[in-house]
Symmetry: none
Subunit: 201 residues, 4 copies
DNA sequence: CATGAATGAGAATTCATTCAT
DNA sequence: AATGAATGAATTCTCATTCAT
């Protein structure tokens, strides 16, 4: 019996991501993937049930990898704002390092395929960030807003900047990234009376 | 290719958007569109050169319509913060009213198809917002940051909230939207020394 | 609009029957059929929903044609034995004339595909023969046996002889066929006390 | 290709017959067989040269088994009619006991695969029946007809009744079977002048 | 002997597009 | 302008078979 060749699985994944990013989900066929991965079309079906499954597994493992890269080594005893910036900085840097992953995630999660993903698993990946928000809210350091709002003004703007970076429209230098992280933090930190009138309860 | 029956063209566009939103760009075929629009596949080719052209035209007309809906009636003599909030509020409301358009735009612009779009045309649509940013920066009311950054902390967070709304995860009520607009404005308005160290030049 | 080309449908049917008879249900592909029928594979799907449907339609139309060929012009006022022989003779001759039809029917109805056929429709095709049996039983001319038994000793032996004919193992001449029909009739006609002990009630 | 593990070979055969009967020759694949037999696809090729060979071996061994079951213990010194009925009764009962075998044989022998079978071997299996017919003809007890005709009115009607039994359309009870055997015998026994005009020479 | 991995060829079906009316 | 028929090319996926262990 021949053992499973993890190199082959890797090649399939890489080829898939590359092709999907360049040609799109709509215009990437299993045979193209096979060709680029240097395997037979039939081989893909040893590692993945079908095309839908292949795409789903890609999405999940990219999310998993991002989550690990962002949240491992995360020290929760640091001051909240430090922790916050560390996480966002790592997120930014992770996706700068893995632009293909970022592009794939964006394409996948803006397609209807996303609806077949079990959301609870994905939410687990964000757990540490949610915990941070919750602690901040309890300690009256972060505005008492739903996590979705907090993400909208912190995580997603950063992700938007990753996009700009990758398109070449705006590439932040180190100082600028730091200033941006501060800006994100300021937008959710509870430091002035003016914020008090925002209420979601 | 020259349009005649406006009803038919409309039917084709609506069917396309609906199918693409529900099944995805990858899984929507010309014959499916034809069937749902109650026309012959051949008829689509009277109004659109081919599939790529159809998708492109859809994208452009949705962008155009959004731009019109957001920027018409916009009074530039109002105070900047008022103008700013008006625009964002209109953007939010427009896409709440046209969720199919929003979903389509997200899917299209996160796919490689977006690269074939002439960006200058799209930028025109955002012109008024860019002007507003520029005026604000000149008058030292808005932080002296690239427009991409300003968009990342104002327009895109709002768009993210539209997404949350549509997925049902978080539906803002009127007061909450207003608070959010203030939050967006606060994040880019230049009102304290602390901001001064952020520099992009 | 182009009109449906009945020649094409005919060509598809003929090619299918020929290939299935020569290579078997298992080894006949849609593209082989298309090639032999001189149409594109896609064209078959204009006339038939899918492969299963194609085969089913073939079966049904061959049965229908056989039934028409055997039962049209059938005069029910003749003596029962005459009627009986006429029908069997026509059945024998029909399938000798259409050996491809006979072979196809045998292959199809001995495969699991037969289970998806609505049996009531097929039974309708045999109606006149069943009626004849029933009349014969009422008039005490034919043994009082279930139609299945009567068929087993009349229709099916004749069909078996068609098979032998086609394989070349035994080709009946006219006189021999007539003798055989008499033999079939004798086997079910009620003419001697000896039969009386056979009872199915 | 040399067999070792008898259990495995049996499992492969049983799985094949079951699948072919349920799904058909066309829709039964080697891997399906392997899965149902709880072996690797590669294992099948240890016992059988290829798929065609597998099917052929199945056919041959089922025929062989039927022949043994029907003809062993057959006492040729009994009166002809007794012998005749014994054989047919055994045939009927054998296939009632092994419906899967019957169904497989019907499907196989009505497909073009049958043409690759060496007919002389099969005929050997029927030898005792042919001998019986020949003796009967010599002794002027059985009509002087070709064996094919005699089979058509005796063996095949009985087989047709097996089919009806299995489909549930007509299940003979013991008495009815006996009556049927008499009917079959009557149809070929030479007992009246009327038969004399049937001639095949 | 036995296996699961691996595969090129080919399966059924649909695709985007054009044709003929 | 509008259509359903028609199609060659391409799709996803499975097949029978062989390989490497």
């Amino acid at each position: 019996m021949r053992a499973r060749d993890f190199k082959k699985e890797e090649a399939i994944c890489e080829a898939s991501i590359d092709l999907i990013n360049r040609k799109g989900l709509a215009d990437t066929s299993m045979s193209q993937i096979a060709k680029q991965a240097n395997v037979s079309p039939a081989t893909i079906y040893i590692y993945f049930k079908n095309k839908e499954d292949l795409l789903k597994q890609l999405y999940l493992r990219i999310q998993r990898e991002a989550s690990q890269s962002i949240f491992t080594g995360y020290e929760s005893f640091l001051p909240l704002d430090e922790s916050f910036k560390i996480l966002l900085r790592k997120a930014y840097q992770h996706f700068l390092r893995k632009p293909e992953h970022f592009v794939f995630l964006e394409q996948y999660s803006n397609s209807p395929l996303i609806e077949k993903i079990d959301k609870t698993e994905i939410n687990d990946y964000f757990e540490p960030l949610y915990n941070l928000f919750d602690r901040g809210k309890q300690n009256k350091i972060i505005k008492d807003l739903p996590n979705e709002m907090l993400l909208s003004f912190t995580f997603y703007p950063i992700m938007q900047l990753v996009k700009y970076h990758q398109s070449g429209r705006l590439r932040l230098e180190y100082n600028q990234l730091e200033a941006t992280l501060t800006m994100a933090w300021n937008s959710i930190k509870k430091d002035r009376e003016i914020d008090s009138f925002i209420s979601f309860r």
